[in-house]
């Protein structure tokens, strides 16, 4: 067994082991103790597993950059298909993103998640991590589907964690949408198998040249609609705006950064390794996908402008930003694809930061409306600064990470001779400024809204915010995520950073490397 295989297995199994372990420690608090002793161990196990997975995925990413790839067959599912893991550039990129963001979210969750049902959500978090790793390293379509569905279905537990009616309603909406999407993906998988007899990921596609174009179009539609639900492609985005606000903040960050991105990642895999660039060109389906993405970018951003709930605003922002990814994919150019992949990574950390901050704000004020944020920066300076930085990143101000991905997307769009799409990119960025900057202004400049004049400050409010800014886990997660925004931007072109991997992946997909 090589080092690569070992790293792969550890990355996949460590969270599963932690999930099993979390079930082992009892929940009840011993008399006279504030934190249940079992909880402390469980958190330690989670963080350890998260860290191990993050380190393994980063190591794998480094190995991939040195040109090492590896395929590992685990289990024979059917006579023709195995449960196969494989490390390639795109997978390593997605895995590292998911694992690092997950680690940050776990750290945040330690400070954020309290109260009942912790065991359930902890176990779900760990299994979801394993599933996300599986999605990233899946070596064929069937493996991908298995992990993808596992991730989708288990995320339900994260969404409904609060068990408020809104959360349960959002959860139901989520599960209906996602199962519908999953069924379409499954239909796509079956069609692919029927048409090609092969489910492996092959650059350039698995279909024979004489395959029926209409059958291929149907298969592509199944995949596009199926993954479109997850990637929040309009009009299949309905679950996003409900699930994000309903989920606890660390889970919202993961929903945006990893779950929605999983849909985009699925599209990447299907486009380049099931259909192949040449087939897609001849099918002529990409303009349709691009049109849907274009509508998504603009309409979702316009919807985001109108939301009062900060997390809803961020959720629509995710819908809009994921539209970039789909749009860039639809252009079928190497630079645009690299831009899409690197945007996936950078967006994950930017949106993660924003959701972490939103969680802290909600925690500090006990409310979620924009009005409750007025003047909050004075009480939560670090969080507000991180939010501002991430906002600037989302707008695409250099030298933050958002600028790098936007630049690559823009260059890719021009390279694919689609200058009109560049306008979309910039409109989206301008609208991003429109829906995020007001939040920053409210944080810093708005006054007198939280407390009507003449009313004494509630004693609880001040202590709560004090508590939030003095909870190390929250602060650590927020600062590291915000710092990543800066580091990923400043050092974007350094070897070992997402851009290099994304370019390597794009080169592979387009047959150059």
């Amino acid at each position: 067994m090589t080092a690569t295989a070992a790293l792969l297995l550890v990355a996949l199994l460590a969270p599963l082991a932690a999930a099993l372990a979390t079930l082992g420690w009892p929940e009840p608090t011993p008399p006279g103790r504030l934190v249940p002793s079992g909880l402390r161990w469980r958190r330690a196990a989670m963080l350890a597993a998260g860290a191990v997975t993050a380190v393994c995925t980063l190591a794998l990413a480094a190995l991939v950059q040195r040109g090492e790839t590896h395929t590992l067959s685990l289990l024979q599912l059917t006579p023709h298909t195995w449960l196969t893991l494989r490390v390639d550039a795109a997978g390593a990129l997605y895995a590292a993103t998911a694992a690092v963001l997950w680690l940050l979210a776990l750290v945040y969750a330690v400070g954020y998640l309290h109260g009942p049902r912790l065991g359930r959500v902890h176990a779900a978090l760990m299994v979801c991590l394993a599933a996300a790793i599986g999605v990233a390293y899946a070596g064929n379509l069937l493996t991908f589907f298995v992990f993808y569905e596992l991730l989708s279905v288990l995320t339900y537990v994260l969404v409904v964690h609060d068990e408020t009616p809104a959360a349960l309603a959002a959860g139901l909406k989520y599960i209906v949408y996602v199962l519908f999407g999953g069924s379409l993906v499954l239909a796509g998988v079956l069609l692919t198998f029927a048409l090609a007899g092969d489910l492996s990921f092959t650059v350039g596609g698995v279909f024979a040249a004489d395959a029926s174009a209409n059958a291929l179009r149907v298969a592509f539609a199944c995949f596009a609609l199926g993954f479109g639900v997850k990637a929040a492609l309009m009009p299949l985005h309905g679950w996003v705006a409900d699930a994000h606000p309903a989920a606890p903040a660390p889970c919202s960050a993961l929903l945006s950064g990893v779950l929605v991105a999983a849909g985009g990642f699925g599209l990447v895999r299907v486009c380049f390794e099931v259909f192949g660039v040449a087939t897609l060109h001849s099918l002529g389906v990409m303009p349709w996908l691009g049109a849907a993405a274009a509508v998504t970018i603009v309409v979702a951003a316009l919807l985001a402008l109108q939301q009062d709930d900060l997390k809803r605003r961020l959720a629509y922002s995710t819908v809009s930003q994921m539209g970039y990814l789909t749009l860039a994919l639809a252009l079928l150019g190497p630079i645009a694809t690299a831009g899409a992949l690197v945007h996936l990574v950078h967006h994950a950390f930017l949106k993660g930061t924003l959701f972490f901050c939103a969680g802290s704000f909600a925690h500090a004020t006990g409310r979620r409306g924009m009005g409750s944020l007025a003047g909050l920066a004075a009480r939560t300076p670090v969080t507000a600064a991180a939010f501002t930085l991430a906002t600037l990143g989302m707008i695409g101000v250099p030298p933050l990470s958002g600028f790098v991905s936007k630049w690559w997307l823009g260059v890719g769009m021009l390279e694919s001779s689609a200058p009109a799409t560049l306008a979309l990119l910039l409109i989206g960025a301008l609208l991003a400024a429109g829906y995020l900057l007001p939040v920053v202004f409210t944080l810093y400049f708005a006054k007198g809204v939280t407390r009507p004049p003449g009313v004494a400050p509630k004693p609880g409010v001040a202590t709560r915010s004090f508590e939030v800014e003095h909870r190390p886990p929250l602060l650590v997660a927020i600062t590291v995520a915000a710092a990543l925004t800066l580091v990923l931007g400043m050092a974007a072109s350094a070897a070992g950073f997402p851009l290099a991997l994304a370019r390597q992946a794009a080169a592979t997909f387009f047959g150059g490397g």
Binding site: A169, K173, F403, L430
Partner: protein, 744 residues
């Protein structure tokens, strides 16, 4: 070759203000660190900013010989999209020197202006000042469009904090307008940079080859860059942020905005024209023609800007607003000079000489004027011309220094404004003489008209503030400005005079810049020094002054100043109308979209209701069948009616050999599945409706519902689990069929 350390000079200069900003922030954030204690005191903060600005200026002065000797200082930092490349050439150095001087004076002025300010806000002001300074230095030392954009964006964003510094409603409104235009301008620059990059350019010194197939794209790129930088330069149509922002900002910040930051826009346009869109003689006819058109557009844009700006300035009643519109007008001079330079092509050196000199000169006297007016506002408590007056005797020092600035801007010979305006005038004359029928003779007339207007507007300002009778108690009780403010005015006044008497001090830097663009630099010194001895120039200036005085007196006599500008002519109003129209259209579209999605949701809800009813009916039917079937034949009935469970169950039934207990389980199982199904349908229906509602609920509603419904919901969440199990079961069947298919 130069030592690498010398080449790193631009970087060190950019880093200076950033280090100072970091120190200030650290001092505020870590109150226990003894070492930083001096910086926490108000004086320490002021001193740090002034010293930083002075140090940067000195460093830049020290870099002059190296730049003149070698043309450029270059350094590349591996960051962002590969490398951030910095290159300090003569043009950048000139603007940087101007920035250093103005920043030093403004910071000194601010130390007195902000004396009564809260500590936190003083800190914010200083941090903003240092960050904008660093951003500006980045802009002028950028070697490619990406680095330039980096600096430009931060310059624009950080300066927002200047605009909203006072926190008043007017400041907020001005800030919003400023930010919208700045962001839009920033994106225009980004678009232009992307387009230039995709056309194979990006370096600010390398002309972009014209590919006949993509010549439209090249035009679009140039337009984007011009518009983007035009916003910052206050070019006509994009200038509307400028009067509001300058009036709302504290006076020292207005001096920075007008004295230096507008120049960043002009600098950007200059780089656009001389970098990617430069057409050398061997560039081919198409490129030359494109350049000529570009020059003509910029020229006319500049003429329109200077004319409209000066008319607006004449109509203003607030000292800072008047100066702000005058800045718009003066930037028009710069644009005109640059346009003429490009239009003249090979012979355009004179246009560049005038434009660059005017950038420096305007920066000096406009900063001086804003700082002087700031001193007046501090002493008299108002900037409204009506409530000022008669301050010449109460503030003699300020008056004297402001008078130097006014004399400079209106073009009194022997002062700097006269020189650069005359050179630009000559450039227009040449362009008109070249005369390819573009009406440039008219442009020359309009130029003269603007000079007259400038004189009238500035006379109005001087008379309104310093002469006549005081208009308010504040003006009556005013006393001379604090020493630091007067001291801040001094170096600017000295520079105005010095560059008037010795204009050729600028010649080496301008010449070096021209050589960098492949233009002859031999006559620069002559162009700069000749106006003082040139009779037509002198008489033109004198006539313009006299005419300006006449205009001012007549306008006052006939009450023109009391008129307000017609509302329909307001660009703001037009923009607002447009914005409202767009908003209304969007709201309308959203209404339609909302209607569609509500319908769709109701269809979904109806579907779930139908599902609920159907499943209830099926359940009842199943129950009836189960009840009707004799016990012994249960397994047959089950295999007939519930196919999915039959396959596994019939085996079990056969194995049990007709055991009644086993048979009895079947009806119960079927019933429980039926129940689960209808419960699921019920839940699906309710939750769907709940989800429809929840978009309209407030937090309180949600809380209330949460308390009421928790128990019921928890019971139902089991059903969702069951539903998931059902779907997974279906998949397993499908996967099984896949396995079967692959086995065949």
């Amino acid at each position: 070759m130069l030592a690498p350390a010398t080449h790193a000079a631009p970087l060190l200069v950019v880093a200076g203000p950033l280090v100072a900003a970091a120190l200030l922030a650290l001092a505020a954030a870590a109150p226990r660190v003894r070492l930083l204690a001096p910086l926490r005191a108000a004086r320490g903060g002021h001193a740090l900013v002034v010293v930083t600005a002075l140090a940067v200026t000195l460093a830049l002065v020290a870099a002059v010989p190296a730049v003149l000797a070698h043309g450029v200082l270059e350094v590349a930092v591996p960051a962002l999209l590969g490398t951030l490349r910095f290159r300090l050439d003569a043009l950048g150095l000139t603007v940087a020197l101007l920035a250093g001087l103005v920043w030093s004076a403004s910071s000194l002025h601010a130390s007195a202006y902000l004396a009564d300010e809260q500590r936190g806000r003083t800190l914010r002001y200083h941090l903003t000042s240092l960050v904008t300074f660093a951003a500006l230095l980045t802009v002028v030392s950028a070697a490619d469009l990406i680095t330039l954009y980096l600096g430009f964006e931060w310059l624009g964003l950080a300066a927002y904090l200047f605009v909203v510094h006072t926190g008043s409603k007017a400041a907020e409104a001005a800030g919003l307008k400023y930010l919208v235009l700045t962001l839009a301008g920033g994106f225009a620059v980004l678009t232009g940079a992307l387009l230039v990059h995709s056309l194979g350019g990006g370096d600010l010194a390398a002309p972009l080859a014209l590919d006949p197939d993509r010549s439209t794209l090249r035009v679009v790129a140039a337009a984007c860059l011009l518009v983007g930088f035009g916003v910052k330069a206050g070019a006509l149509g994009l200038h509307t942020w400028l009067p509001d922002a300058h009036t709302a900002a504290p006076a020292p910040a207005s001096a920075l905005l007008s004295g230096v930051m507008l120049k960043a826009g002009a600098y950007g346009i200059a780089r656009t024209l001389t970098g990617p869109f430069r057409a050398d003689a061997d560039a081919g006819l198409a490129a030359l023609q494109q350049a000529e058109t570009l020059g003509l557009v910029v020229l006319w844009w500049g003429v329109a800007t200077m004319l409209v700006g000066v008319v607006m300035a004449l109509m203003q009643r607030h000292a800072k607003r008047l100066l702000a519109y005058s800045s718009v007008s003066q930037m028009g001079f710069v644009l005109t000079g640059m346009g003429a330079a490009i239009y003249l092509g090979e012979a355009g050196a004179i246009g560049w000489t005038g434009a660059i000199a005017h950038v420096v000169n305007h920066g000096l006297f406009k900063a001086l004027l804003f700082l002087g007016v700031g001193a007046v506002i501090t002493s008299a408590g108002s900037g409204e011309l009506a409530s000022l007056g008669g301050l010449a005797r109460r503030m003699p020092w300020t008056f004297a220094l402001v008078l130097v600035g006014v004399a400079g801007i209106v073009g009194v010979p022997l002062l700097n404004g006269f020189v650069s305006k005359s050179v630009i005038h000559h450039a227009i004359d040449y362009a008109a003489a070249e005369g390819r029928g573009h009406g440039l003779v008219i442009a020359e007339r309009l130029f003269v008209l603007t000079t007259v207007g400038t004189a009238a507007a500035l006379l109005k300002l001087t008379a309104g503030v310093f002469l006549g009778r005081p208009g308010s108690d504040g003006a009556r009780n005013a006393s001379e400005a604090p020493f630091a403010m007067r001291l801040a005015l001094l170096p600017l006044g000295v520079a105005v005079v010095a560059l008037g008497l010795r204009p050729h001090l600028l010649a080496p830097l301008v010449g070096s810049a021209l050589e960098g663009w492949g233009l002859p630099s031999g006559s620069v010194e002559r162009w700069l020094t000749s106006p003082v001895t040139d009779l037509p120039d002198l008489s033109a200036a004198t006539l313009a002054l006299a005419a300006g005085l006449a205009v001012h007196l007549l306008a006052r006599r006939f009450g023109v100043y009391e008129r307000t500008f017609p509302a329909w002519a307001s660009l703001d109003r037009a923009a607002l109308t447009l914005a409202r129209a767009v908003r209304d259209a969007l709201v309308g579209a959203q209404h339609v979209g909302g209607e569609v999605s509500t319908r769709a949701s109701h269809v979904g809800a109806d579907a779930t209701s139908a599902f609920q009813r159907t499943s209830a009916a099926v359940t009842r039917l199943l129950q009836r069948i189960v009840a009707a079937v004799p016990r012994r034949r249960v397994s047959d009935a089950a295999s007939g009616d519930a196919a999915s469970s039959a396959a596994a169950s019939s085996d079990a039934g056969d194995d049990a050999g007709g055991d009644v207990g086993v048979h009895a389980r079947w009806p119960a199982l079927v019933r429980s599945w039926g129940d689960a199904l209808s419960a699921l349908a019920d839940q699906l229906d309710r939750s769907w409706r709940l989800a429809l509602e929840s978009g309209r609920m407030t937090d309180d509603d949600r809380e209330r519902l949460a308390r009421l419904a928790r128990a019921r919901i928890q019971r139902h969440s089991r059903d969702v689990g069951l539903a998931m199990a059902l779907v997974v079961l279906v998949w397993l069947v499908m996967l099984g069929s896949l396995a079967a298919a692959s086995a065949v």
